[in-house]
Symmetry: C2
Subunit: 323 residues, 2 copies
């Protein structure tokens, strides 16, 4: 069953179920335990990237059949999950979607290879099902931007001189690129014109930026709701937007705490309190809202139809998480 | 300058230099240190996979120009180096080609992403320069087999019941697949007929199997020559062919040592001595020689020409490492 956010949209809901089934039937490795963990990781998520791809595949003149749509929807989720698995090894995260991560269960060896294996499945699906070779190139260039974003993150980690500009560049790659690939590929597959393709890509970018900033903000929430422990980002030296806004503002207390090494739980709590109490968290919320509004304004320019209405509702709903 | 094994073959030598230059000009990441480490890792190696690709590109009727050959030769080396980087994180290897590994210098975060980044560069080159979409699919299926081979390795690690059959299946994926992809793509790019393509692929497989077994045997040699510390494989629970032949033979002393946990240096030396003194190392050498002979017999079936002669010499030379 697809995630409950899709329950009001039966057509997308059903396509996402088919996407999940397609992914599960594609995972073929002899090690049944790792195979099972990959299946778990590709079950029950919100599947935003395949969903946006499917939603945007209605904006061109050529409405493709499920046989052509589902494998490409699946490929986007596979690329996403591959990067998740590697991120979890890198951050040593104990939990993902409330369950133990692959590397906690089977060690980093298998987690790294499992991520690599999903990259290859992604690559296979794209090669097999892309309508044209140029679409494969679009995918590969996006995948490269995502990785460059991940590498750029290192310029921010543990860097008290990080700026919002550096953050935006990093997140444009790390997170927003996969959203914009999804919406762009949706428009391309339906043979939309150049203008709609570019518009779709920009909408994906706005959604992705907003999504990542909301995710940063949720790290301040309680771990029950998010399924991952609190302040994980900061513990790993990952400075998210609320902290970066404080650092850029040269907030002395914050700079002084974060300049220390081996932060204690108390210091982490203190840093988080500064960010909450001195308005940086609210400012980050404003920025998330602004990206969300950009997305909505651009969605208004899309051709009218059912999917446009669904998109508006879903994009608004993403903001609910930080209300 | 390409590796000295190519010095007698100026045409390949020059193409390999161009391949290296092409790789270096393609690495574009903001972090100059990681960029430099990737450049170091793609300099000075034997470049066997691009070399075999280039050698096999002479066996069909259509001799392609360097502009078409070099990027595909580069892609094969990139795929190889990407898997090397991940292997080194996984095995926690301190050295690669006599230099500190990326993860020792910059931590596993950057090593994992650097490997991922090279996967994306590989994917980009294949998408951009493959003559047809079906060749991209051939590449992606090979990449998948390589990863499945890596995952299969886990069934052998620390497994005293591992058999030669399991080993051969694993190495067919992990190592031989990339050699057979290289030789197959060489034949394909020159528009050789189906029979020559299949023959080329089989030759690549034989060379790859022989190459990996020789590598296993070299782990018994001294660390000065190989540029990596001794008995690294066994320390990581990686049972290579010589050990597996002993285990399959139910050699009691060997089984008893390897059944223990946390092997001391003395126990590792003792296990290695058993394998050397009781003929298992020699048996592994025989198997490497057999694969090498298979390759040479098949090379004889290729169309005559300069590259056929070069191939014979190079394949024979690979065996010299265990003389």
């Amino acid at each position: 069953m697809a995630h409950s956010i899709w329950k009001d949209y039966p057509s997308i809901d059903s396509k996402l179920d088919q996407t999940t089934a397609f992914i599960h039937s594609s995972v073929k490795i002899r090690n049944t335990e790792i195979s099972q963990m990959i299946i778990d990781l590709t079950s029950g998520g919100k599947m935003l990237r395949p969903a946006f791809f499917l939603l945007f595949s209605a904006f061109g003149p050529d409405k493709k059949q499920n046989e052509e749509l589902i494998p490409l929807a699946a490929s986007l989720e596979l690329l996403h999950v591959a990067t998740l698995i590697h991120d979890d090894v890198i951050d040593d995260s104990p939990l993902r979607r409330g369950k133990p991560t692959i590397h906690t269960h089977y060690g980093k060896r298998n987690a790294i290879y499992a991520g690599d294996y999903l990259f290859t499945l992604y690559f296979e699906m794209i090669s097999r099902f892309s309508p044209a070779q140029k679409d494969i190139l679009i995918n590969s260039l996006s995948m490269k931007k995502i990785l460059i974003g991940e590498l750029d993150q290192m310029l921010i980690n543990y860097n008290v001189d990080a700026t919002a500009k550096m953050y935006i560049r990093e997140v444009s790659g790390k997170t927003a690129e996969l959203f914009s690939l999804s919406t762009e590929m949706g428009a391309i597959i339906s043979e939309a014109d150049e203008k709609i393709i570019r518009l779709s890509k920009n909408i994906g970018h706005d959604i992705g930026m907003s999504f990542q900033i909301i995710d940063d903000i949720l790290d301040f929430g309680d771990s029950q709701t998010t399924g991952k422990p609190n302040f994980e980002d900061l513990k790993n030296g990952v400075y998210t937007l609320p902290y970066i806004l404080g650092l850029q503002d040269k907030n002395e207390k914050l700079v002084s705490i974060l300049s220390g090494t081996n932060l204690s739980d108390e210091m982490i709590q203190e840093a988080a309190d500064i960010v909450s109490n001195e308005g940086y968290l609210d400012k980050a919320k404003d920025i998330a809202r602004t990206y969300n509004q950009h997305a909505l304004r651009r969605i208004n320019l899309l051709p009218n139809g059912k999917n446009k209405l669904v998109l508006k509702k879903v994009v608004k709903k993403l903001l609910d998480r930080i209300k």
